[in-house]
């Protein structure tokens, strides 16, 4: 426990902050309530600092197959988390707080949700960080659920409008379905390998592969759990909810959905696949055929469907939702390619790097949308105040001239998401291509290339509308939101894209170091003396 605590300080920090936020969010004093986002942000900063200080190598090798991933993953989670919390600040209870301030309504803790909102956000990020630290299936399952459950609530309470409720109901029920599916997969993996510890599972799978191949239960478990985790990353066929939920939730929450569950899913996939190992197949550098084929099919379908559906959208949030699906498809290529000796050959470091770049640029783009709203709030049927956010792409026509900060932020973020050369999005996507080629997945890389071209169709709209178009009638109806942090996040996102472009090298280096060479050294024995479950061998029965 003590040795685990050594690298769990970020999570502990976040948890304590959660407790604090949950309680003070219900304070009768508005000033105290307003501290919630601040505390959340500070705790994330502290967690980030703790994460950087974490020693990447753990004392015993069984703690997970990628100890090097911990500090990197947690640091990027904390960094993007701070951006998101700035964006979230003031999202819920806005009308409520205004009425309280105006004295229209009396303080009623049951009507206020800000405490829960930030607490749930921190819970979700705690879960996300725990996902990175997971060393067993139980831990992984709990971490994934801790990541997801709060987001269901956050989506539902994010605005007073009914579409948030619709988003919530779809997200929750389909999410429960997804969770049930990967839980069943985990159960079967445990059955097939006799252990829930990823290190031991790796050992058992290696043994099975060396023998007759994976046994049926293990294989079924792996396939089902990968499909189930597909829900978190919005991969086909588990992607259906994405667009509806992204559109229905308040934009800041959408920005969070684009980063948090996706990151959790990819960390889980990396852990699962590293438990399988990339040393099978004809070349000796691939996942087992079946798993590889599954991911292959998912990758191709995910990026293609995401892109072709994104083209048809007129709602920016839906467009970005489908593009988020497509980005997951791109990243699956990295998972298939697996780790490699250099940064360009390592699909895993490509994914880790891409998660960071995607997190920053998508948060920036969503922040631009979140910064635009209509002047007046409306009352919903249940009597709460709701603000009409920008959604239609018409809202950003001529934005670069009308509101240069927001317009240019959108242009920069969209160009980067497109993968325009010499933006960080380009540096993010390039290693996905090169690692795919290095892994011999040429057809997949070609699909990736075609999809990147298709993506230009809609991303260029996000570039040309603000930049070259005159503002239309629709665009005139929007003003910059009075919440100062949102345009700030847009600017930080854009500056972040530029800064990451300039500092691409060091960041790539970090992503590369996060994937320790231990991974592709297939013969590295997994230290199994630390397995308490080891004693109960099946044959030892009776």
């Amino acid at each position: 426990m003590a040795e685990k605590l050594a690298y769990l300080w970020p999570e502990v920090t976040l948890f304590l902050a959660t407790c604090a936020v949950m309680v003070i969010g219900l304070s009768p004093s508005a000033a105290v309530r307003r501290l919630c986002p601040l505390i959340s942000g500070l705790s994330l900063a502290a967690a980030g600092i703790f994460a950087i200080g974490t020693t990447p190598t753990l004392a015993d090798g069984a703690e997970g197959l990628m100890p090097g991933m911990l500090p990197y993953a947690k640091a990027i989670i904390a960094a993007v988390g701070i951006l998101i919390v700035m964006l979230l600040a003031g999202t819920v209870d806005r009308g409520e707080e205004e009425e309280l301030a105006a004295g229209v309504r009396k303080f009623d803790p049951l009507r206020l949700t800000s405490g829960e909102f930030y607490a749930f956000f921190l819970f979700s990020l705690t879960g996300l960080m725990l996902t990175a630290s997971a060393d067993s299936l139980i831990w992984l399952f709990l971490a994934l659920e801790l990541t997801s459950l709060p987001t269901y609530v956050m989506v539902t309470i994010s605005t007073a409008r009914s579409r948030a409720k619709e988003a919530g109901v779809k997200y929750f029920f389909l999410g429960a379905l997804g969770a049930a599916i990967f839980l069943y997969g985990f159960a079967l993996i445990y059955g097939g390998t006799g252990s829930v510890h990823l290190g031991e599972i790796h050992h058992q799978i290696t043994l099975q592969m060396a023998g007759d191949g994976l046994n049926g239960i293990t294989l079924a478990g792996l396939l089902i759990s990968i499909l189930g985790i597909g829900f978190k990353i919005a991969a086909v066929p588990m992607h259906y909810y994405t667009a509806d939920v992204y559109q229905g939730a308040a934009t800041p929450v959408t920005a969070m959905l684009a980063f948090v569950p996706k990151t959790a899913g990819f960390l889980a996939l990396i852990l699962l696949c590293s438990a399988i190992g990339w040393h099978y197949g004809e070349t000796g550098h691939a996942l087992p055929d079946t798993i590889r084929l599954l991911l292959w099919v998912m990758a191709v379908l995910t990026m293609t469907l995401g892109n072709v559906l994104a083209i048809l959208q007129t709602s920016m949030k839906r467009m970005l939702a489908y593009s988020s699906i497509a980005h997951s498809g791109y990243m699956l290529v990295g998972i298939i390619a697996g780790p490699g000796a250099t940064f360009t050959e390592s699909g895993i470091s490509a994914v880790l790097f891409y998660l960071l770049t995607y997190g920053v640029m998508s948060t920036g783009a969503f922040a631009v949308i979140a910064s635009l709203e209509r002047t007046h709030a409306e009352r919903t049927q249940t009597g709460e105040l709701a603000y009409d956010e920008a959604d239609s792409i018409e809202a950003i026509r001529g934005l670069a001239r009308a509101k240069p900060l927001l317009g240019w932020s959108m242009v920069i973020c969209a160009l980067s998401m497109l993968g325009f050369p010499l933006t960080v999005g380009f540096f993010g996507k390039l290693p996905l291509f090169t690692s795919g080629i290095a892994a011999g997945e040429l057809p997949l890389v070609i699909v990736l290339g075609i999809n990147s071209a298709i993506a230009a169709f809609y991303y260029l709209r996000l570039v040309s509308y603000p930049l070259f178009d005159e503002a239309g009638d629709e665009a005139g109806g929007f003003i910059t939101t009075p919440m100062r942090t949102r345009p700030a996040v847009a600017a930080i996102g854009a500056v972040g894209v530029l800064a990451m472009t300039v500092f691409a090298g060091p960041l790539m280096g970090l992503a590369h170091d996060a994937v320790q060479p231990k991974l592709h050294d297939s013969d590295a024995p997994i230290a199994d003396e630390a397995m308490p479950t080891e004693e109960a061998e099946p044959v030892a029965a009776k």
């Binding site: 426990m1 003590a2 004693e535 029965a541």
Partner: protein, 131 residues
């Protein structure tokens, strides 16, 4: 860890007997009432039984939201017991002089701390206010 003794099905025999008795008793009661009891329907008889009082308003009335809150709070606190149980079973067997033995206590105290936080939250939210 000690070796597990295989459980015999026979060990569960008393349990099965109790279950069977319970099932038999309840089924027999219902069946006997149906068979033997007089059947007379009436307007008064079909109204909801409220301890002899005349019911006020409709039964489809909305419950106060606090009922649901209590239900949820109950659910959460109830589940916590699941974790206390294995701990309580294991704790007496822990060698108190062994290094790290105190961790056993610290763990459960941390766990209870989270419960306290949840209680505090519920309290401030006004879940326990019945007015």
């Amino acid at each position: 860890m000690t070796t597990l003794a295989a459980t015999e099905l026979a060990d569960y025999f008393p349990l099965i007997v109790i279950i069977m008795m319970a099932v038999t008793f309840s089924v027999a009661n219902v069946a006997l009432t149906l068979l033997l009891g007089p059947k007379r329907d009436g307007k008064v008889k079909s109204i909801a039984y409220e301890s002899g009082m005349n019911p006020i308003g409709t039964a489809r009335k909305r419950f106060n939201v606090r009922f649901y809150l209590i239900a949820m709070v109950f659910l959460v606190f109830d589940v916590e017991v699941i974790f206390l149980y294995p701990w309580a079973v294991t704790f007496p067997n822990v060698d108190r002089l062994a290094p790290g033995a105190s961790e056993w206590l610290i763990r459960i105290l941390f766990f209870l701390f989270t419960t306290v936080v949840a209680y505090l939250y519920g309290y401030r939210k006004g879940v326990f206010k019945f007015d």
